[in-house]
Amino acid sequence: MSTLHLMRTSAYQQNDLTQCLDLLQANDAIVLLDDGCYNLSHHLLTANISNPIYHINEHAIARAMLDQKKISQAITLAELPALFFTFDKVITWQ
């Protein structure tokens, strides 16, 4: 079983990312979208996460967020729907 986690909030503001990481299983992945892109610099993600992390490129650029630590793969919003089917389910954190 695998889950795609859609992370729409900033861990600098609220604790959704912490709770998400508590649930994270070996085959899961995280997508950062909207304000979730602020997590690109957050220590919860820049340390110790071996799962795939994606971020919506246009959402990060709009916020002037760079993936400086190269922790994430940039995708477009248009590429996201296909990802939904490569995991068994999707959980949204917002």
């Binding site: 889950t3 604790n15 959704d16 709770q19 649930l23 299983q25 068994d88 389910k89 959980i91």
Partner: protein, 120 residues
Amino acid sequence: MQQKSLAILNSSSSFDRTQGRDALDIALIFGSYEQRVALFFQGEGVRQLVNRQQADIIQAKDYLATFSALPFYDVEEIYVCQHSLTDRALTTDFHLDNVSVLSAGDFAKKLQQFDMVLRF
């Protein structure tokens, strides 16, 4: 009817905003359509299970009392994250009997068993 099992992940406290009530409405309707439904409580969501809350004092709807009706809709599975309880110095003194307290790891694994997760 086809089956799709639903896990509702409750992460909001009891009374501010309407998340808890809106989640319960979803649980009841899926239950009445004979879908497998389980309630999961994580983070501030564990507040919803705490015993001796008194909604009437703050003129809030006592939707928590409706939790006891869940078995009539065949919603029998209620899971709470021990880690979230410990963080908040909360005990297992709940207003419901059939709550399963799971370690963070078991809680995550149990959630994986469901086809679909909605979070409130």
